[in-house]
């Protein structure tokens, strides 16, 4: 174990938090429609967009109208991205002459990018034209991120407003999120990445004559502009097949630091933004403490596990870290930091191959996803998921002290509880039943790359990733089949909308209520007791649901490895 790696990780997190706080302040001003230093430049564009659709930015929607607009917007996006892939062969900016994408792959990809999952059953550099990447996939990286944030804004308004059914305007929320937050940050990051060697060109692929005389095809494309939003928007869909392990997607240790920072920056900021917007910064801090506790525990276990040499390989004469599926320009520490970040934040980008990790590292990554990715979490939806856990915790605490549960001055009745429990339970049911179906069917098993318990991990990880809208994979599993494309597509839709729709409905219920003043009998929600309780609830729900299958997957795998038992 390298102590320098550990110091690096701690300093990295500190710097990320220091950057997140001012960004959070800025975002809370943007979301509230207040003036910022960007307003003079962007207001004309914002107004222009509202004028096009004749929207009045002050005209707000109730929860049904908001949910309706959001769903319609997503359906149109899915149709567009689906068709664009089918007809890419007839369209320009396709220097390699790729034909239309197969229907099931195209459907899976369309759902995947619109739901912010960015699961990829295709290899970018051999499947997608430049036009499809930029006009289809890159755009969805922005839009799906904005939709997640918009949903969070609705839920925040549900808590802060009283006796109203108005929850904001969907068009205004996504327009502001894109123009003031996602686009400026993406431009900055894209240029940093291009300076490091991430390609950004429309030239066709180049054929090189290698030193030993072979022909080597070097893929190119407008990658930097897409990868920046891929990292910032908790998306994770790579331009190239191996994602940010590819030398053109993440060329240097410096680009790796910036990409890792971009994974965590906005998700952490949103927690503080929440604090600013409910005018209770301490509440934001308490939730940040919950998330950071869970992050640190996972980080610690994963880093320890991955710092061990592979005992079987060590015995036959290999020295050093487990470098199978890792790039030496990053090394173990930065690879694990990335892995823990990408699975907590629902990003799904990878810079090492998760299939070849030590089993307990894989276990931590899977646990991060199975919490519902509430540890910082995907843009908007991560914090929403955490708020569902908070509501559940307040209910449990309410039972213990014999009072009606409340949070942020809102009484939580049976209806609110139902809406908070659906998004916690439904994805778990979907993951386990779909994975069980895959294991029981020849179509599901035929894709395995590894036998035995590691094979089980491949399948479980896939469905965790679909339903958790993560997008990373134990990539040995061959998933570009009708079976996995369709089941995966269904899983991604369930995972996404089982969070978003209940969140908006819950906001509708909460906004109609009055506020109860906090009294000395209210359960304090900013102290250490609250933090410990929520952490316990998150771990218990994840552990109880998935412990049996984790025992047969990564834990058994770990025992095989330590016992020197070779599988297959």
């Amino acid at each position: 174990m390298n102590i320098l790696d550990l110091i690096f990780i701690v300093i990295f997190i500190l710097i990320t938090v220091l950057l997140a706080v001012p960004l959070a302040k800025y975002m809370s001003r943007v979301f509230s429609g207040e003036k910022t230093f960007m307003t003079p430049i962007l207001l004309p564009i914002e107004r222009f967009i509202y004028r096009l659709i004749g929207a009045d930015e002050n005209k707000e929607m109730n929860w049904k109208q908001y949910a309706y607009a959001l769903v319609i917007f997503n359906i149109i996006a899915i149709i567009f991205v689906f068709i664009l892939q089918l007809i890419q062969g007839y369209l320009p900016l396709n220097p390699e002459g790729f034909p239309g994408v197969r229907w099931d792959t195209a459907l899976n990809t369309a759902i995947s990018f619109v739901t912010n999952t960015n699961w990829q059953s295709y290899a970018g550099e051999t499947t997608m034209s430049y036009l499809t990447q930029m006009l289809g996939l890159a755009v969805q990286n922005f839009l799906s991120a904005a939709v997640g944030i918009a949903t969070l804004l609705v839920l925040i308004r549900g808590f802060t407003r009283k006796n109203t059914n108005k929850l904001g305007n969907f068009w205004v929320d996504i327009t502001r999120t894109i123009l003031y937050i996602l686009l400026p940050l993406s431009i900055i990051l894209a240029l940093i990445l291009a300076s490091q060697g991430v390609v950004q060109t429309f030239d066709p692929y180049v054929t090189a004559q290698t030193l030993e005389g072979a022909n080597q095809t070097i893929p190119l494309g407008p990658a930097a502009s897409q990868i920046s939003i891929k990292m910032l928007g908790s998306n994770g869909g790579g331009f190239f097949n191996v994602n940010s392990a590819h030398p053109f997607e993440n060329p240097t240790p410096v680009s790796n630091v910036f990409e890792t920072l971009a994974i965590l920056l906005i998700p952490i900021s949103l927690v503080f933004t929440f604090g600013y917007m409910i005018k209770n910064f301490k509440q934001g801090l308490a939730i940040f403490a919950i998330m950071t506790t869970l992050f640190a525990v996972g980080m610690g276990i994963a880093f320890w596990s991955e710092s061990q040499p592979n005992p079987i390989l060590e015995k036959i004469g290999v020295s050093g870290d487990n470098l199978e599926g890792k790039e030496v320009r990053f090394g173990v520490g930065p690879s694990v930091l990335w892995g823990v970040s990408t699975t907590t934040v629902s990003n799904g980008g990878v810079n090492s191959m998760h299939d070849s990790l030590m089993p307990l590292t894989g276990l931590v990554y899977m646990f991060n996803i199975c919490t519902g990715e509430v540890i910082y979490g995907g843009l908007g939806v991560g914090l929403i998921g955490m708020l569902f856990y908070v509501i559940l915790t307040m209910f449990i605490a309410g039972l213990m002290i014999g009072r009606t549960p409340e949070f942020l001055g809102k009484k939580l009745g049976p209806q609110e509880m139902v809406l908070a429990i659906i998004p916690i339970i439904l994805p778990h049911v979907a993951i386990l039943s779909m994975a069980a179906l895959a294991i029981a069917s020849p179509d599901g098993l035929s894709g395995l790359n590894n036998p035995s318990s590691h094979g089980l991990s491949e399948i479980i990880y896939a469905f965790l990733s679909f339903v958790g809208n993560n997008g990373s994979a134990f990539a040995g599993l061959s998933v570009n089949t009708v079976f996995y494309n369709l089941f995966g597509g269904l899983g991604m839709l369930i995972g996404r909308f089982a969070t978003i729709i209940p969140a908006i409905a819950l906001a509708g219920l909460l906004a109609q209520k009055g506020k109860v003043p906090t009294s000395s009998a209210s359960f304090p929600t900013t102290g250490p007791l609250f933090v410990i309780l929520v952490v316990a609830v998150v771990i218990l729900i994840g552990a109880l649901t998935f412990f049996p299958v984790f025992t047969l997957g990564p834990i058994l795998d770990h025992l095989f490895l330590q016992g020197g038992i070779i599988t297959g």
Binding site: W171, L211, E212, V242, P247, N322, E324, S356, N450
Partner: protein, 185 residues
């Protein structure tokens, strides 16, 4: 009906802004400010592209430094790791084979320990770097094949060392081999 129309208009506006204008602007700035990097860090000799500084190449001749094993044999029209689990028989067989090859090529004793990067596959299948230790193992073979002194080969390694932010120093195999070719024989 109203929201469907609004959806389509907003979707179109953002698709044009984020899907055309934004990547075009980034391309324009990148091509002006970082033309080498944005075009793939290509290396040309006598007008012919011989590779990218960032993309690894397969080397089997004894007079060159060898790269890490690759799941795709450095065929960069695609990219992939082995995706084999740590206790998989295929992985153990691959590594055992690579170990034997490294030891035989470099005349190492049978009980020698070999750095992991030389026998385990990278994530991308295209990694251009190895650790300095892994380059040092190959020095005597290269010196012998090229009929030059070991210190000359070591100097090439030392001149091309790069420090990642953390951990052991690394070297770019293609750069090393280009530097070897430039040595006077």
């Amino acid at each position: 009906m109203g929201e469907i129309k609004n959806s389509i208009i907003i979707f179109a506006v953002f698709t044009i802004l984020l899907g055309l204008i934004y990547p075009l602007v980034i391309t324009g700035i990148s091509q002006l400010a970082f033309p080498t990097q944005a075009n793939g860090n290509l290396i040309k000799e006598n007008g012919v592209v011989i590779g990218s500084q960032l993309i690894g190449q397969d080397f089997s001749s004894p007079q060159y430094f060898h790269s890490r094993p690759s799941a795709i044999d450095y065929n960069s029209s695609t990219s992939s790791g082995s995706n084999l689990g740590p206790d998989s028989k295929k992985l153990i067989d691959n590594v055992t084979q690579n170990l034997e090859a490294v030891k035989t090529e470099n005349n190492l004793p049978g009980n020698a320990r070999v750095p992991a990067d030389l026998v385990e596959m990278s994530a991308s299948g295209l990694e251009g770097y190895i650790y300095v230790d892994s380059a040092m193992i190959q020095v005597s073979r290269i010196a012998h094949a090229r009929n030059i002194s070991e210190s000359e080969v070591k100097k090439v390694i030392n001149d091309n060392q790069e420090l990642p932010l953390l951990g052991n120093p690394i070297v770019n195999v293609l750069k090393l081999n280009l530097a070897l070719n430039k040595l006077k024989t």
